[in-house]
């Protein structure tokens, strides 16, 4: 009588479909990813039912956080460099090539104009720690100053005017928000966007 043969199953599985899928996902994420320079301020925005997506080009964002600090950021590198040149001219500060380059890479500005040169010489980590915010009180409104200069610089460098958006932390105080609004109002910017997180519109409405 012949011996009963035990059929041995191979232990290896065909992983080809899984690997295919993995590479597909890699390709997708690689193409959709957008690298941004590290921000000096982190805020958690409130949510709203607004459905309009924020434009990602030629945008000026004024950010304010819980401690009342105000930051300003523009996205285009040439506009940023032009802005620094303008600042240098107006405030008699000489910025060299290296500082221009550093400024072009910057995500946001969070210091008074006078401290800009010294701030740029710091390392990325130290810059984050030494951000008192841009003064925007009625006595010394440098935010208004920077707003005008940034718009001018953008038109000069890229030919496009900047859209204005305001981004605040949900726990930030109302007076900080009012301060920013008053600054915009004084510059005759009466139409702008608030950056929020998406939220579903409630369905049960009378």
């Amino acid at each position: 009588m012949p011996k009963a043969k035990i059929h041995r199953k191979s232990t290896s599985i065909d992983m080809t479909p899984m690997v295919d899928l993995a590479f597909l996902l890699i390709t997708f994420f690689m193409l959709t990813i957008k690298f941004r320079p590290p921000e000096n301020v982190k805020v958690i925005t409130p949510s709203s039912v607004a459905e309009v997506k924020i434009p990602n080009e030629n945008i000026l964002i004024i950010t304010f956080d819980t401690t009342g600090r105000v930051f300003l950021s523009i996205d285009k590198k040439p506009a940023k460099i032009q802005l620094l040149k303008d600042i240098g001219q107006k405030y008699d500060l000489a910025f060299d090539e290296k500082e221009m380059k550093e400024f072009g890479m910057l995500a946001d500005i969070g210091v008074p104009i006078r401290n800009l040169k010294q701030w740029l010489s710091l390392s990325v980590e130290d810059r984050k720690k030494n951000c008192p915010g841009i003064p925007c009180d009625s006595t010394d409104n440098q935010l208004a100053e920077l707003l005008t200069m940034a718009r001018k610089a953008s038109i000069a460098a890229t030919g496009a005017d900047l859209r204005i958006a305001v981004k605040g932390d949900r726990k930030a105080s109302a007076p900080t928000f009012k301060k920013v609004i008053a600054t915009l109002q004084s510059k005759k910017i009466n139409k702008f966007n608030l950056i929020t997180e998406g939220e579903a519109k409630p369905q049960s409405l009378k």
């Binding site: 890699i26 990813i33 105080s173 519109k201």
Partner: protein, 183 residues
């Protein structure tokens, strides 16, 4: 047998060449490992939820040369004072207004209710109802966005963001103390 050249080509029977068959499978484990590493990296670093933009229009700065604004019937107006701890104090009209308390979950119904009454009162006018939003200094930014959002949700067309007056702050304080609400 002569020295072998080219690795086992000339072996065995003469004349017959036996080419060594290459294994067509390559070990792809390192590549797949790296692939998954990259995948993990990209998954963790991407943010898919793009922020949305909420449009806001604020009134232009009042110039002294501007003509005084038109008067509106006070019964058409509701004033919402956004206060501390997500509280909304509201009143209607201007003659001895009665302050009332509400919050962000119920203010919607108040707006709907008052708007209905107002629309019945002025049937010939388009959007007669006006909401005035006043943000006190004790509110936070989330409240500001939430109340503006309520205007979108209730499709309230006429509303304005105005600074509260000293009288209103006083009224609000008086109401708060009388109602025994903590700050």
């Amino acid at each position: 047998m002569s020295a072998e050249v080219g690795g086992g080509e000339k072996r065995g029977k003469k004349g017959k060449k036996r080419t060594k068959k290459m294994n067509p499978r390559i070990d792809m484990t390192p590549m797949v490992d790296l692939g998954f590493l990259l995948l993990t990296f990209f998954v963790l670093t991407t943010t898919l939820a793009t922020p949305t933009a909420m449009p806001i229009i604020i009134p232009a700065k009042v110039d002294n040369n501007d003509p005084p604004p038109d008067k509106i019937a006070s019964s058409k107006v509701i004033t919402l004072l956004v206060g501390e701890k997500d509280r909304i104090y509201w009143y209607q009209g201007t003659e001895n207004p009665e302050m009332q308390l509400n919050d962000f979950t119920n203010i919607r119904h108040t707006i709907f209710e008052k708007r209905k009454i107002c629309e019945q009162k002025f049937p010939n006018q388009k959007d007669p109802f006006i909401v005035i939003i006043k943000i006190t200094d004790k509110a936070n930014y989330k409240n500001v966005v939430d109340i503006l959002d309520e205007m979108t949700i209730t499709s309230q067309k006429k509303y304005a963001l105005v600074e509260p007056t000293a009288v209103e702050i006083e009224m609000l304080e008086k109401y708060r103390v009388a109602a025994g609400l903590s700050l």
